[in-house]
């Protein structure tokens, strides 16, 4: 049943219900929020696009600017998808920014030693999967907050990145398959190939969450762990798979950025972990798990990119960027908490 924001029934019926109208509309709001947690972010995104389009005198939505935004969106977007899914399962990953740098650095070093690109890619992704596994295993085995496990991993993976680079970023070979990852394609060369990868991952992970039994397990594990466990869901394995998926997507995104920039800098991805969390939260994911969508994470990321770009085009001091993201994040979580509190109150009445 589609949640309705507005009620178009004839007046008499509405009047009859006026006594519990307040609780009814709140119930509907709560339901809408649980079913489409990304809706508020989407509305905000549309409003901001209109605002920036007006403020920039039409520059914001022109082809060149859009190409710029869409060219870098996949990198932050893939990370946000991983972080969002992990958050839905009830866990948290601060190491994504470091994994983002470590994966392409691993690949670059291997290629300098003569490894062909596909093998180096596979090795890089395996390193990411291993980091995700360690994050998950340590968190669950020792029952510690993933905030701490992955904070530690943030430092360790960043340190490893610098160590394997030997202090100097290695030179990338000239014959990289850029046509597969970074070349411009589509009408008017609007997209980079990375956007297609991003879109494919977005569709697949979205379907995984909403249409497969594994998606059901992720939501149940994050939604209420004791219930999921008592129904026989292997919650530890579900969480570890989410940790691994998150790391692999982050590493893959890092590789896309390195191919775009042409050089594996050990400092890339710094601060990305917090942006990804902000994106997930702005997109409606709950910090406590169970609620969120892949689409929400993507909307959150797009919102951040749009603000970054739009502020510059509107001739606002670009240093306001972080302020805006910070404000939005707090606002999103406050709105989130308010919804939950209201929802609880409604349940009591019911």
């Amino acid at each position: 049943m589609e949640p309705r924001l507005f009620d178009w029934r004839p007046m008499p019926l509405v009047i009859l219900e006026i006594s519990n109208y307040r609780s009814l509309s709140l119930k509907r709001l709560f339901k809408t929020y649980l079913e489409k947690p990304e809706l508020a972010g989407l509305i905000l995104l549309v409003l901001l696009v209109i605002l920036f389009q007006v403020r920039s005198h039409g520059v914001f939505l022109n082809a060149d600017n859009l190409r710029g935004i869409l060219g870098i969106l996949p990198e932050a977007g893939l990370v946000a998808i991983g972080v969002t899914i992990l958050m839905i399962s009830g866990e948290f990953d601060l190491s994504v920014g470091s994994v983002f740098a470590l994966m392409p650095m691993t690949m670059a070093v291997l290629m300098v030693h003569g490894w062909p690109f596909p093998l180096a890619l596979l090795a890089g992704l395996l390193v990411c999967a291993a980091i995700g596994f360690i994050n998950g295993y340590v968190t669950i085995r020792f029952a510690i907050p993933s905030f701490i496990t992955t904070l530690g991993m943030l430092f360790m993976a960043r340190s490893l990145t610098v160590v394997v680079s030997g202090g100097f970023p290695p030179l990338l070979p000239a014959d990289l398959p850029n046509w597969l990852f970074t070349s411009f394609v589509g009408p008017g060369n609007m997209f980079r190939m990375s956007f297609l990868w991003f879109a494919a991952v977005a569709v697949l992970t979205s379907l995984m969450l909403s249409r497969t039994n594994f998606g059901n397990w992720i939501k149940a594990t994050g939604g209420f762990l004791p219930a999921a466990a008592s129904m026989g869901i292997p919650t530890a394995r579900v969480k570890i798979v989410c940790f691994m998926l998150c790391s692999v997507l982050s590493g893959f995104a890092g590789m896309l950025q390195v191919l775009r920039l042409g050089s594996p800098l050990p400092s890339i991805g710094e601060g990305l972990e917090l942006q990804a969390v902000a994106a997930a939260v702005i997109g409606g994911a709950s910090l406590t798990g169970g609620i969120g969508t892949v689409m929400g994470g993507i909307i959150g990321t797009t919102l951040i990119r749009v603000i970054d770009n739009g502020l510059v085009l509107s001739h606002v001091d670009a240093n306001w960027f972080k302020f805006a993201i910070g404000f939005l994040t707090i606002f999103a979580v406050v709105a989130n908490a308010w919804m939950r509190k209201r929802a609880k109150a409604i349940k009591m009445e019911g």
Binding site: N213, P226, M231, K347
Partner: protein, 243 residues
């Protein structure tokens, strides 16, 4: 004891030196509603946790329908037809009724290594039937469990157990934190189990609730069974006196 669906013989359990179960022997009979009472720490939860696969017994044997079994995980218990409904509620509030009904047992259209595409049509149809079967009147299987009252949630949990043809339903303090009206509803569910030929194990602190809906009462104290009588042959006072 040919009508015993679960027979427990000489079950022992130690928790880091504490002897929590001291040789419990008990039969759960087919189609009966059994009330399990006892103070905190009497061993009821330990016994239930062993039967539902949360813990393993250190010694003793469990037979289900005459066959000796080993229950290692909640899933093993469910596969044997033993379903447990916990006081904290075994539902995920952020998910729909239909999704909750099938958690961990989702029908899939095809699957690889146990992961597959959900058969959402089947889930919707079967959940409507499952809810109607326990006489629960809910608008839609797409409603979120978080929207339901405590009693309704227990009702959905019972509908779930019925749908998966469980033979024994263990209800661990299902009336805790419920209003009088809601409690009556749950007691009604327990009575309804009998008609469906399902064995109900009703754990409660409230003796009146037990005497309201059970055929037999088993009292535990200090890890042992101290009383096992038909409801008609005993009284609330007698049960209180042995605890």
């Amino acid at each position: 004891m040919s009508d015993a669906i679960i027979s427990v013989r000489n079950l022992h359990k130690w928790y880091s030196g504490v002897h929590a179960l001291k040789g419990v022997t008990l039969d759960f009979r087919r189609g009966e509603a059994l009330g399990l009472v006892g103070d905190n720490g009497a061993g009821k939860s330990t016994l239930i946790n062993i039967l539902s696969g949360v813990h393993r017994a250190d010694r003793g044997e469990i037979k289900v329908e005459g066959r000796e079994v080993s229950i290692g995980t909640p899933r093993d218990a469910m596969d044997l037809g033993i379903e447990t409904i916990y006081q904290y509620n075994s539902m995920v509030p952020t998910m729909s009724i239909a999704r909750n009904l099938f958690i961990g047992r989702e029908p899939t259209r095809f699957s690889v290594l146990g992961v597959g595409i959900l058969d959402q049509k089947k889930m919707a149809e079967e959940s409507i039937r499952a809810i109607a079967n326990v006489d629960l009147h809910l608008r839609s299987p797409d409603a979120l469990v978080g929207e339901l009252s405590g009693g309704q949630r227990q009702g959905v949990a019972i509908a779930r157990a019925m749908h998966f043809k469980s033979k024994v339903m263990i209800l661990d303090e299902p009336t805790n934190h419920l209003s009088v009206k809601e409690t009556n509803k749950v007691i009604g569910f327990v009575r309804g189990l009998k008609e469906q030929g399902v064995t109900g194990v009703f754990i409660s602190h409230n003796m009146h609730h037990v005497f309201d809906c059970c055929d037999r009462v088993v009292a535990m104290a200090r890890g042992e069974v101290v009383l096992d009588k038909r409801i008609g042959d005993t009284s609330i006072d007698e049960v209180h006196s042995v605890l």
